[in-house]
Symmetry: C2
Subunit: 509 residues, 2 copies
């Protein structure tokens, strides 16, 4: 097989490997490749797959050379000039299983294992990942399939063992702007002495995930060895799950889920529980917000979801409790990394202006986790959590975690471009559309621009006058700012009505 | 808004538009773009969407320049050096409908119209198209949705009107190797004087479509005006539907369907009937092959599919008849463009060695179409067709069609690399796996390499001795040849058994 000289091209193709061949290259013609077909590149037992682009310009890639984008070059891990062999890749065998799923079959553990392996080995194009995600989203996965998928995902990466009887964790299924309780729960629980090594995803469709917000204060990209040391030392962490090689397939799929904006039950349950399993969690508290614009809109749906979590949790050996919480509106005031950090610090510092709903919810969740401790009497968790917060021990613990992970000296400054959105009429706030607030904050640039987002002045049940500011948009860049303000001016997400229209709190602790 | 200087890069990115910005470009930083995000490029009322790659090498793209791949440059249609504006594109609004479909909703005409428009305007990434295709494949579309989708697809392009009472057409749902009856039916029907302007797709997952095979003999990429003239003159054509701007969305979706290997009922029905509607067909004969390795494997399924076709056909005003045919094995001997052309010419030339099954099936289908003519007595179509073929009028008509479309002076030569596959045991051929023969022929390089494919020596019911050749693989290129032979050696697709194991013919004309 003819060999080509490796060349690094300074082209950034994000998570996709791209290779470049000259159209007059003998090899390209002989092998019958087509632009955009996938090719396999090998040398010295190194192998990558890449999408082929064909180039006519010798100054980019000459005949006899193989150009690689930055990502592909790094992944292959060989110096420029290395003689490489290019070949047709074996097609991803597991796409057969995806096609079976599309035509309505149930998949087994081996299918999910094969799919996750092929995805990690970069054999799937984004198009193929989209096919897999939608296939699993649409008719949904049965709970048995979710169990198999969870195991396959957990088996796809490293796995931690903490050698402790209780390794606590919490997770929210998402959808509620500003709902950053983890950054309060972790320091409270760790201050009690319980182990809580929390890893989070970045935002998929929301303006911030816990990893995005924590990143304002501290390094969140931690290698597993580093993470292990930190947790041993301070009893907790708030890290990004991605770079820690735990259930890595999820972090690849997110690059497709995010732009598609799909978020399906089976994928969600498997993604959450596989991370927890890989992270060595033994006890998990799950937050399922319920409300008219939450992900879960009816009590029956919430109870059904809880059952699926319990089913899979029991079978993978995680003690799991799911609480259904008030998801009628955003939590706290800030939506977007920097604005959320401000709220969290207000609560940790016991400031009188701290948002009460964020504080109350965090104490509730932390309390439930503390009750995983056999020494804590049922029903007393909330008060223990409150004592830890009020005494300043939670703040001290948070500072210790930040220091351990690597403190950032941030300019904690909301985006400099601002716009105040005003009430359209007099009355009471009787609806805040979580989706719309998320969309406005995302368009403003969150989570990529840390200071971008939305700062809420009014919450459910508040009295407003027509023309009174209800929230402020923050953005860093002109184009984003314009888009966000335009959207808010079309639909600001607030419903103003009579006092009797305020929906009741569905909370059930 | 800052402007960038347009630059053409000699990079071939197939059907995807790619744009290149220098990472030190002020504009890139200010707008907060990310590699692989979609950007909108405008100047002088020209607009395209492209995927962004970020480049560090000034010799490829300097700060202040915007590089475009060949395709993107051509599509924008402006000279190098033009000042262009780059902006965030409006997200494709119709993805909301796709997400609704994923969560189980039925879609209406407006949804399908919006989706097809956004796809044609290049607003969908391949990933998003994959999501749409799988969403429609999995739970399937209801027949009402298929009707809406068909109309939306037909409305997305040009539409022909032939101003004749009968505009005949035929179509096969595919899946059967070597089934090139159109290239016999069209000359027979046109020789009778009936108008039959046949347009076909290229192969999606098979080793050849009619357009791929016809391309061996004649030009098939015909502009609508050209096609119109040709049909007016010779009463028929065998053209590729793609470049003729009829229902163009289908040709874009095929670039995703093909690599994914998905082929769903709703997509198929809408794709076929929208093309027919756009092509101005009034009468359509539909071929539904039935067999253990055909697309349709049970009579009930075949009847169900026929009903869907009839439902949509009636509502869009096409007189449609569907026949269920023998799909137990490949038709004729050759599989792959050049080999199929050989079989077809043998039939047209009334050669005694012509494959009988191909001849018989073509006469049956042509006969049914001739009976659309009110002057043809029911039941006499087959004999009229046979007379047209035997008299040489069909051959003369085929030559006229080839000449009108633009004759190719081909080297009609099967691929030079050959390998003979031998029977594993003594007995009777009682199964030929259509899928496996297709796969082997595709791996050999068909349809891109015209001479590649499979040449069958034995058919169902034939007696074979162990070691006797059952078919020959032809390929043009070493790598393809190796893959194809390997697959055939693993599973050659033939079942040899007792005489009593030969499955009965399901044919029902």
């Amino acid at each position: 097989m003819e060999k080509l000289r490796l060349k690094r091209l300074s082209i950034d193709t994000y998570k996709e490997n791209v290779a470049y061949l000259n159209s007059r290259c003998k090899f390209y013609r002989a092998a019958g490749f087509q632009a955009l077909s996938k090719i396999k590149i090998t040398a010295d037992h190194h192998m990558i797959l890449a999408v082929l682009n064909v180039v006519d310009d010798d100054s980019i890639v000459a005949p006899g050379e193989l150009g690689l984008s930055q990502q592909a070059f790094t992944q292959l891990g060989l110096p420029e000039g290395t003689a490489v062999v290019v070949d047709h890749p074996e097609p991803p065998v597991s796409m057969d299983a995806v096609r079976r799923k599309i035509s309505g079959d149930r998949l087994g553990y081996r299918d999910f294992k094969a799919i996750t392996r092929d995805i990690i080995e970069n054999r799937y194009s984004k198009m193929e990942m989209a096919a897999f995600l939608v296939a699993c989203a649409e008719t949904g996965l049965e709970r048995q399939e979710i169990l198999y998928y969870t195991r396959a995902m957990a088996d796809s990466g490293q796995r931690l063992d903490w050698h402790e009887p209780i390794v606590a964790d919490k997770h929210c299924i998402g959808g509620i702007p500003g709902n950053r309780t983890s950054m309060l729960v972790v320091p409270i629980v760790a201050a009690h002495g319980m182990l809580i090594p929390k890893t989070s995803s970045r935002a998929i469709t929301s303006p911030a995930g816990t990893a995005d917000t924590m990143e304002v204060l501290a390094e969140v990209n931690l290698e597993p060895e580093r993470l292990y040391e930190i947790v041993r030392k301070v009893r907790g962490c708030l890290a990004w799950g991605g770079t820690s090689r735990l259930a890595p397939v999820d972090d690849i799929l997110i690059t497709v889920e995010r732009p598609l904006g799909i978020d399906a039950t089976g994928q969600m349950v498997a993604s959450i529980l596989s991370k927890k399993l890989a992270a060595g969690s033994t006890h998990l508290l799950l937050d399922i917000p319920l409300g008219p614009t939450a992900k879960v809109r009816h009590m029956q749906q919430a109870l059904g979801l809880r059952k699926i979590f319990e089913y899979v949790g029991d079978r993978i050996g995680i003690h799991l409790e799911a609480v259904i919480t008030d998801g009628r509106q955003p939590i706290g005031r800030g939506v977007g990394p920097v604005l959320e950090v401000r709220d969290i610090l207000q609560v940790l510092e016991n400031r009188p202006d701290a948002p009460g709903d964020l504080r109350h919810k965090a104490l509730n969740l932390a309390g439930r986790i503390l009750e995983f401790d056999p020494e804590v009497r049922g029903g007393t968790g909330y008060h223990i959590a409150e004592e830890i917060l009020a005494s300043g021990r939670a703040l001290a613990k948070m500072e210790a975690i930040i220091k351990a992970q690597g403190e950032k000296r941030p300019k904690i400054r909301p985006g400099r471009l601002t716009f105040e959105v005003k009430a359209n009429s007099d009355g009471w706030v009787c609806g805040i559309d979580n989706f719309q607030i998320n969309r406005i904050a995302r368009l403003a640039g969150a989570p990529l621009d840390k200071g971008a987002g939305v700062d809420l002045f009014k919450k459910l049940g508040d009295r407003v006058e027509k023309g009174e500011p209800i929230y402020r948009i923050h953005a860093e860049f002109e184009a984003d700012f314009k888009f966000s303000v335009n959207l808010a001016e079309k639909h600001n997400g607030y419903t103003i009505g009579g006092k009797e229209d305020i929906p009741p709190n569905p909370e059930e602790f």
